[in-house]
Point group: C2
Chain length 387, copies 2
């Protein structure tokens, strides 16, 4: 079980400084939660992940259920031992991935999912080539879908999600929710929310371990539904909260909705924002009282050759560009990470152009360090009353 304590609150915003204690160590919040989709932060080993200043990771229930399967991970002593990460660990509910199969076709999420399973030709592609995506059947109990790996019939609902997450054994697990499509109508989201709330209760009943269970607030871009959801989820005895789904694509919308709904959650419990954390978002969401957030931006962009830097005129560099072959600066002059202390832009550019894997690892390391350091500075600012 986790323990969470708010240590200090900002006077100017809802930002707060906290300590999240888990069986596997302490997390200082606010905090980025790097994504270890398939039980690995892509390109790095767990020692390197630690060296980037990462405190807690989130692994993916959907992907790990499909491959290698939760039974295998349980037999290996649980996810911490399997992936050799002895720090705090979350697993998501699998909801986002399974539902995104449904709205994937409309939003070309197809491509993203294909990538996430290693670029392999997938069943998804075949199914999506028809007129209608027939991948999902949503019932009151959960979702029927087909495996991306071997096309087999699968079912995931609140009971199944909890059972899988219990076998994986992360410190923090999430309730199974319906993650509605970004273009869903008010009516659709309202109905969907009923399911999410019902499933939240089912998850609570089902849990048998001492893992901490976070309930998930949904409601799309509709403030009244977000408030309704926050009130309901708060009324149940969860150990913390996840806030999921879309907010309407606009940052003002997002902060507006967080602003209106977050105060209905129990203040003493940690709040995790699912899948959001661009550099420009981080300050905004922390100001709204978010304690932790997971985001693939630092790692995903690294594998595309992008380095994030702390230069006011430029926030990122595309190291694929030929001009960097002549640039003898470190990625970020002020960065103290292992990569910036030892390697120059020209070398990383050469490695990328020569298709060398090492480039992806060096960029992933730097980006994670950079993001972690960025959030660490915000923690210092809150501590000193400057945020």
């Amino acid at each position: 079980m986790i323990e969470f304590k708010v240590q200090k609150k900002s006077k100017k915003s809802k930002a707060r400084l906290g300590i999240l204690k888990t069986k596997h160590g302490i997390v200082e919040t606010p905090c980025l939660v790097p994504v270890a989709t398939q039980a690995v932060v892509k390109t790095l080993d767990s020692k390197e992940v630690k060296e980037t200043g990462s405190q807690i990771l989130i692994a993916n229930t959907f992907h790990l259920h499909l491959r290698p399967g939760e039974e295998l991970i349980k037999k290996s002593g649980g996810l911490h031992n399997f992936m050799n990460w002895q720090g705090p660990l979350m697993t998501d509910s699998g909801g986002f991935q399974v539902f995104s199969l449904g709205f994937g076709r409309d939003f070309k999420i197809n491509k993203i999912l294909k990538q996430s399973i290693g670029g392999k030709e997938s069943v998804l592609t075949k199914v999506l080539s028809g007129n209608q995506p027939k991948l999902l059947k949503i019932t009151e109990d959960g979702v029927y879908f087909k495996s991306l790996i071997d096309g087999s019939d699968l079912f995931l609902g609140p009971k199944e999600s909890i059972k899988i997450q219990e076998k994986l054994g992360a410190d923090i697990i999430f309730a199974f929710d319906e993650c509605p499509p970004p273009n869903a109508s008010y009516e659709y989201i309202k109905n969907s929310l009923e399911k999410t709330h019902k499933w939240a209760k089912t998850c609570q009943k089902e849990r048998k371990t001492k893992q901490s269970l976070f309930g998930i607030v949904q409601g799309g871009k509709y403030s009244d539904l977000r408030i309704e959801s926050a009130k309901y989820i708060s009324s149940l005895d969860f150990d913390g909260y996840g806030i999921g789904g879309e907010f309407g694509g606009d940052k003002k919308n997002m902060t507006g909705i967080l602003n209106k709904s977050i105060s209905f959650l129990q203040e003493k419990k940690p709040r995790h924002l699912l899948g959001i954390g661009r550099l420009e978002d981080i300050g905004l969401i922390i100001n709204q009282g978010i304690d932790t957030f997971d985001c693939t931006i630092p790692t995903h962009y690294a594998r595309r050759g992008i380095a994030f830097i702390g230069n006011k005129s430029e926030q990122s560099l595309d190291l694929n560009k030929k001009k960097f072959l002549l640039d003898k600066n470190p990625l970020d002059k002020k960065c103290k990470c292992f990569v910036c202390q030892n390697y120059k832009r020209n070398y990383i550019c050469h490695l990328l152009r020569a298709k060398e894997i090492t480039a992806l690892k060096l960029l992933t390391f730097h980006n994670l360090y950079f993001f972690n350091n960025f959030v660490n500075k915000i923690r210092q600012d809150i501590k000193q009353g400057k945020f």
Copy 2:
């Protein structure tokens, strides 16, 4: 300039223990020289390479000339600084790569070269699709060929090779030789040897830096030509020797030829065997008096999912195989490397099957450590008179 001292000789074979001093540190011989083709040991950073127990690396003049170019590396402070490897460093002459373009078609080396430039569709492929490989024109002065990257016309000869290697700035550089095709006739090799010997002298005249220059012994599978070459190269004042080319594919042939020819080289100078170093070869070549040898086996096989282990019944494991998902042992129970201390076969198998890059890096690390440790044990055995 290097200094080389033979510290102890085996009483039972020609094996010898040596110390090779360079400006960038000491190499205890016999020693494996891991391959850093494009200024990187694929999948690793230079700190990791050091941690595998690697003492000295060899980078590839041909590839680095093509991309990013020796001028750029010189402007970056030389290869040591460019790749952040402050240990001893060799560059090969570029001979093998450029000549293998010529015999590539007959021996399907095409595929290997394509791989070495990152799987990109190359000019080589196009040219090889014709009836005759028209990639090379060998003259008395060197070789005309086309760039694998942009198809441009290039020329490499002894003068050019030395100039490139001087700009790269490795501690040890090699004379430019013709590396004849494996199926070449006695007549062909005899003529080729004349060129190689002439070029050896040209290289000596051209050198202007204090880098150490190794002359290369060729002669294919013909003992008399190997002896002739060893005598001639030994008569020139090289700082050490490289032994290149094919020996007829048979291990007995190889050791027989080394046995007959190596004694004609000056004993006080180091001997490097180019491109040979399978586990089963290492003892044999050290017994023939080889001091250093480079080989892609540990790194190349790692990227195919193969781990080398010290089990008498099995010398390697194919971690792609599904059965390893259930195997909770480290790659090698007796191995003390970072990977074997922290990760299990099941996890590495999962990472491979999930197409995770981290798997390739973990396997590369282990294989290099394993090979380095294997050679280290031979050094200890020579020291204790057991080899």
